[in-house]
């Protein structure tokens, strides 16, 4: 039975079959993200041999590593972007992609995130924002909405969530977009763009964790969470004319930046060329 489903799913060719089935809960948004990523790779006709996928620790870190059939590096919690930086310098012609969670990339890994954006290194980051620490059992994340309940904010969250896309855009990334798992087609298009842009690109995906977040916040069913996203999503063009009060609790979606800026690895190699020239080291 399961085999039949696999064989009818065209994106299966991109998956590491011996690692299946996935460890994700039924109804988790992670599946949608994996599907969107595989579709983006497929539509761009990228050869998976030209991809290196890096992730940290958390449920979302599992989305593409080990499941996506490419070179995959599953690293320590929060550090995936720094690992990816070394990979990109060594393999500048490959596409280096980081797929991981909001806790992983924006909390413990926040420093690496903003500095990779500042450096504008050509890495694509797909940040899966489920507002919670899923893997460790539903604790408070830096993205947990104000007032929401988690196992470590059992009464209500008194902290304010980090606006990841806004922060990374301000830090200097070349491309930043935010979508939810209810906006699959836009998400695929954004991942495609992120993979083609030369420079640091971030696609933030607001993704449902019905098990750890939904259950504690009156949205047990995945569909309820998707409806919540749809109802509260505001396109960025519209958000520009809204006050902070009006935007409270809303998800601003769309493309935040799409710009050309000098990219780190090309700058590094350009510098090497200049130094070689300067010291007369090039082979005559």
């Amino acid at each position: 039975m399961a085999k039949e489903i696999y064989s009818r799913y065209p994106m299966i060719k991109y998956l590491r079959k011996e690692a299946l089935p996935t460890a994700l809960c039924p109804g988790c948004g992670g599946g949608t993200v994996l599907n969107a990523f595989a579709n983006a790779v497929d539509r761009l006709k990228l050869d998976p041999k030209d991809l290196v996928v890096v992730s940290g620790i958390g449920c979302s870190a599992w989305i593409a590593s080990p499941y996506f059939l490419a070179d995959t590096l599953h690293t320590t919690h929060g550090r995936s972007i720094a690992f990816a930086t070394g990979v990109k310098v060594g393999l500048p012609d490959k596409k280096v992609v980081v797929i991981s969670g909001d806790g992983d990339l924006a909390s413990i890994g926040g420093n690496h995130l903003i500095h990779a954006a500042r450096r504008n290194i050509d890495i694509t980051v797909i940040l899966v924002n489920n507002f919670i620490y899923g893997m460790t059992g539903g604790q408070l994340a830096p993205t947990t909405p104000y007032g929401a309940k988690t196992t470590t904010s059992p009464y209500r969250n008194i902290e304010h969530p980090l606006q990841i896309s806004e922060t990374v855009a301000a830090a200097g990334a070349s491309y930043v977009a935010r979508w939810t798992t209810a906006h699959v087609y836009q998400l695929i298009e954004s991942i495609k763009k992120a993979l083609t842009v030369k420079g640091f690109s971030l696609v933030e995906v607001i993704s449902q964790c019905p098990v750890q977040f939904g259950r504690r916040n009156r949205m047990k069913e995945p569909a309820e969470m998707l409806r919540w996203y749809l109802k509260n999503s505001v396109p960025i063009s519209k958000a520009k004319n809204m006050s902070p009060e009006e935007l409270e609790g809303k998800f601003v979606i769309g493309e935040f930046v799409n710009r050309q800026r000098p990219e780190f690895v090309s700058e590094l190699n350009k510098l090497i060329d200049e130094v070689q020239e300067h010291f007369g080291l090039k082979e005559e």
Binding site: R16, T76, T85, V89, H115, E283
Partner: protein
């Protein structure tokens, strides 16, 4: 482009840039040149005294060799970037000091578990915490050994001079490559900043090792297997279409995670230990002076081995049968040789710039009837010949 260090073009560049001969340089610079000669072409680091000149030298020299210098946002990112770069085939290094070394520990464990070659230079400074930030010390002996969590083996070297630092750095790279493992180099703030004569050799005189690569698809499919029985799996580098999966979680020979089967964890961790223990010939190294008839044995390491040698020489002048044993690879400790020497000695002195660390390793290998005594000094000032000589006389 991946550079191994032994390409004709790299040899040409080295020959053109660094004429063999004697130079007056800091220990830190000697480490940097050793790395360059060994083929290191990727350095990621974060500045910290007393290690910064290693970064500065690498930042200046690496672009000339088409190598990469990255200043990362912190030490955690530095070692992470090194691991990433190592999986593309580059030889990688970072240098740090106590606080930075502490921050690197989690990813050092990751490198052990994923069998990633890298060289981590810890220029030891006085601690705990910020301590005397600019002063040298030898307080990280056990941080190198037990700093990261879990049952992990580690190889750590410790040079005794600027010249030694050059060659020990080369050796650190060769060991890392041959055994597919991280190697720690315990340097110290005193030698790091001491300027002395360092002879730069001809590159032809330098052994340059490079990791085992898979011979065929079969081997590439088992990035954590043991096809040659020496515990060292060939390393399928990223970017070659092998679809390698690397994880710090317990994994099977094919790289896929399995954290539930006790045997899988047991097999993996024991092989990693066996790889290190079983290949002592690759890295075990020590130096001996007058140990043949020594009744009083001085055992010392790193910077302190120098005044220790001075003290032993003076003691000999005075007719005292003193000898010196210097482990150059401090982890795993050369215990067998220590045991043999311990049987002959009446007293053993262990001078160190700490309150007694390596002495605990010595103690494990000597009998209770031997008088074992630490000669310890902290405060950032190295031990002197006289301070050690006085102790030798005291037990003579």
């Amino acid at each position: 482009m991946i550079i191994r260090g032994d390409e004709p073009e790299q040899i040409r560049l080295i020959k053109k840039l660094y004429k063999p001969g004697n130079y007056f340089m800091q220990g830190n610079e000697a480490v940097a040149y050793g790395a360059i000669f060994a083929g290191c072409r990727f350095y990621a680091g974060y500045p910290i005294t007393p290690s910064s000149e290693i970064a500065e030298t690498m930042a200046r020299e690496l672009p000339k060799l088409r190598g990469y210098y990255l200043q990362m946002e912190d030490e955690i990112g530095s070692i992470a970037a090194m691991v990433g770069a190592s999986w593309t085939g580059l030889k990688v290094m970072t240098a740090t000091a106590g606080p930075g070394f502490s921050l690197m520990q989690e990813n050092l464990g990751y490198a052990v578990m994923t069998e990633t070659p890298l060289v981590l230079v810890d220029v030891q400074r006085s601690g705990p915490s910020t301590g005397q930030a600019t002063k040298g010390a030898q307080g990280d002996f056990f941080q190198a050994r037990w700093g990261t969590h879990g049952d992990h083996p580690i190889i750590a070297l410790s040079p005794t001079s600027g010249q030694d630092a050059f060659w020990e750095t080369v050796r650190a790279f060769n060991i890392a490559e041959k055994l597919r493992t991280p190697v720690v180099m315990l340097f110290d703030g005193v030698l790091a900043h001491t300027r002395e004569l360092v002879k730069i050799p001809d590159i032809e005189e330098v052994e340059i090792a490079y990791r085992k690569l898979p011979k065929n698809e079969e081997e590439a499919k088992l990035p954590f297997g043991d096809p040659h029985g020496d515990g060292v799996p060939p390393m399928p580098l990223f970017g070659h279409g092998y679809f390698t999966h690397v994880t710090g979680s317990t994994h099977k020979e094919n790289g896929l995670r399995d954290v539930y089967t006790p045997e899988v964890h047991d097999r993996l961790v024991r092989r990693i230990h066996r790889k290190i223990e079983g290949n002592r010939h690759v890295y075990e190294k020590y130096e001996e002076h007058f140990t043949d008839d020594a009744e009083i044995l001085v055992v010392s390491w790193g910077v302190t081995a120098r005044p220790a040698l001075g003290a032993v020489l003076e003691a000999r002048e005075e007719g005292i049968k003193a000898g010196l044993f210097v482990p150059k690879t401090v982890h795993p400790f050369p215990g067998e040789r220590m045991r043999e020497l311990g049987k002959k000695a009446r007293a053993i002195l262990v001078p160190e710039m700490n309150l007694g660390q390596m002495i605990l390793e010595v103690q494990r290998f000597v009998n209770d009837d031997v008088l074992l005594k630490g000669v310890n000094k902290i405060g950032g000032v190295p031990l002197t010949v006289n301070e050690i000589l006085r102790e030798i006389r005291g037990v003579a």
